[in-house]
């Protein structure tokens, strides 16, 4: 049954925990197996923004992810935060998808769910850092987009979002449906609630779909249908910093610090 108020769909990804990011020295790809993972941090801000819309305007918040079945744990957490239902798109043929097939597959899933007013994504993921999937979804389903959004007002048939740009803030007004990509750290995501956890325990909130269930063309997804490949990965050698450390009486220590910085051209002479 359709709820009164807007239907929001939040796209989230499960990523390796920041402090666990490690490159496999053999395959040169990101180690994912056996590495603790979490909801992509900016996606939490997207979940929070969607839940705030629901707090004010009613409606419902659905959460979608694409990935292996272990991503269920992120969907459960999102449900415990207050999302109404969750969808897991999982299929071996999706493996190795870059941003083009990912945006395609998520768009098809969103289309299958239907009836949406707002689509939320985090501004980018911490493991790939492209920020291309959100605007890619908007391009695919041919709707408006507001990227780098930190505040959002839902105004019925349209939204007004505050967008962060290099030299200030812009307020964009767009008709719905609209894709909103949410600035990392723009709000304080609510923790999962006890009642939310109990709802998750009772089950029945997560729908699992394969590509065939959604009607995704296998010729459009996966590593073979991704325009880009990672050809190789070089390890970065961070500069070996030879610290010049000064101690002693403050006036003298600071004078020596400035002198050294000027000599190295770090401060103007």
């Amino acid at each position: 049954m359709a709820a009164k108020g807007p239907r929001s769909i939040v796209c989230i990804k499960q990523v390796p925990k920041a402090q666990e990011l490690q490159v496999d020295p053999v395959t040169n790809t990101l180690k994912r197996v056996g590495v603790p993972s979490e909801i992509n941090p900016p996606d939490r801000n997207a979940l929070e923004m969607a839940l705030q819309v629901k707090d004010r305007a009613g409606g419902e918040v659905l959460v979608v992810t694409m990935g292996p079945p272990v991503f269920t744990s992120s969907l459960e957490e999102a449900l415990a935060m207050g999302c109404d239902r969750a969808f897991l798109l999982t299929d071996r043929i999706l493996g190795g998808s870059d941003t083009v097939p990912t945006a395609h597959a998520l768009s098809e899933t969103i289309h299958k769910i239907g009836g949406y007013d707002l689509i939320f994504c985090g501004e980018e993921t911490t493991d790939a850092s492209t920020g291309h999937v959100g605007p890619g979804i908007a391009g695919h389903i041919d709707c408006a987009q507001i990227t780098y959004c930190s505040e959002l007002e839902y105004l019925g048939d349209r939204v007004r979002g505050k967008r962060t740009v290099e030299d200030g803030y812009e307020w964009w007004e767009c008709p719905t449906p609209c894709v909103v990509t949410v600035n990392f750290l723009s709000n304080r995501p609510r923790p999962p609630s006890l009642t939310g956890k109990i709802r998750v325990k009772r089950g029945g909130l997560i729908t699992t779909w394969s590509c065939a269930d959604v009607g995704i063309d296998p010729g459009k997804v996966g590593i073979r249908n991704s325009p880009t490949i990672v050809a190789k990965v070089d390890t970065v050698q961070l500069p070996d910093r030879k610290a010049k450390v000064f101690r002693g009486e403050p006036r003298e220590a600071v004078a020596r610090l400035i002198e050294a910085m000027v000599a190295d051209g770090v401060l103007p002479g």
Partner: protein, 347 residues
């Protein structure tokens, strides 16, 4: 769209020329320099694409910075930037002229546009590149930091055309401007309908000064940690930042304590910064903090504890009481500034 039947139909290196409030962005100039090098290797030409309103003068400027040709799309509906009309302009011109390579600045608008466009025309787009080269097969080698800056990934787009990349601002130098350099200005028209104008920018608020600027954009950052003990002591950090013309940042502990807003936070759970100069005051240097600032060009650490790990990755360190050292640093910097204001002959 399907794969291009013949990749050789796609020729030339394009730069999306981003106009911002009457000026061409520096990153667009930087990319014209990059494009010249790539075009030389490919034996092709550099074209700029300039959508906007009253942007004619920028077309000639782009030619002086290295473009052989500028596709100019003048339309009052293209000011200010919004996603759909710009995507339409780029998609239309790409389909018509078939460039081999298209470069964007990795600005907010550049990424907003590139992300939408690459899904519409179904081609590869690498984000935030720091190096762009042609490999031995003639493909664009798009090199970008990955895994939190721990490595550099080489991205290739072998079958799809054009190959698209956004480039991180201020990584590539601005090429010299050659006054009087000639090139072709091609006026293109792309019909922007009312339906294309779905987004309206109803308000703009400029950020003034350094306060409130995103910390990633600062060339100099002074960052305060738990060693400051109390929120009011953050004014020391602000004062030093002001003296240096830099921005203010903070460690996670300082943010968690509620001393400063969360968008000040540097580190794995905050922002990654790489300024020319990073001054860490009262920050011990937890691994998570280091990950967010270790790519800074020069690092200064001021800390009481000589064993603090921040001293292991800094270029300059001062061991001592920050409440004495920071005011002293501000005082000496002011003194130097005053001295510099005096003509050399009178010193």
């Amino acid at each position: 769209m399907t794969l291009p039947r013949d990749k050789s139909e796609y020729r030339g290196v394009w730069v999306f020329l981003e106009a911002r409030r009457g000026r061409m962005r520096d990153v667009s100039r930087q990319l014209l320099g990059v494009a010249r090098g790539l075009a030389a290797t490919r034996g092709s030409e550099v074209s700029g694409v300039l959508p906007g309103s009253n942007v004619d003068p920028m077309a000639h400027e782009a030619i002086e910075y290295g473009a052989d040709r500028v596709y100019l799309v003048e339309d009052p509906r293209l000011e200010p930037y919004t996603s759909r009309p710009f995507t339409k302009v780029m998609a239309t011109l790409i389909r018509k002229h078939k460039p081999e390579i298209v470069l964007f600045g990795a600005t907010k608008n550049g990424r907003d546009l590139g992300g939408r466009l690459h899904a519409v025309i179904e081609t590869g787009l690498a984000a935030d590149c720091v190096k762009l080269e042609i490999d031995e097969d003639g493909n664009l080698d798009m090199i970008r930091p990955s895994f939190g800056g721990k490595s550099l990934a080489h991205i290739l787009c072998k079958q799809h055309r054009p190959q698209m990349a956004s480039a991180r601002p201020n990584v590539f130098p601005i090429p010299p401007r050659r006054a009087g350099r000639t090139g072709e200005v091609v006026r293109e028209s792309v019909v922007i309908t009312d339906a294309d104008l779905d987004a309206k920018v109803v308000r703009f608020e400029e950020r003034r000064g350094h306060k409130g600027n995103p910390i990633e954009d600062a060339r100099i950052l002074v960052s305060g940690g738990f060693g400051l003990r109390e929120p009011k002591n953050f004014r020391l950090i602000e004062e030093l930042a002001k003296e240096l013309g830099g921005g203010v940042a903070a460690s996670r502990k300082a943010v968690d304590a509620g001393w400063v807003p969360k968008d000040y936070q540097v580190g794995q759970t905050g922002r990654t910064v790489r300024p020319d100069l990073y001054i860490a005051v009262g920050i011990s240097g937890a691994v998570q903090h280091l990950a967010g600032m270790q790519e800074s060009r020069k690092i200064v650490a001021i800390n009481q504890d000589p064993k603090a790990s921040i001293f292991e990755i800094c270029d300059y360190g001062v061991v001592g009481d920050l409440f004495q050292l920071v005011p002293e640093l501000i005082r000496q910097l002011r003194e130097r500034k005053a001295l510099r204001a005096v003509p050399v002959a009178a010193r």
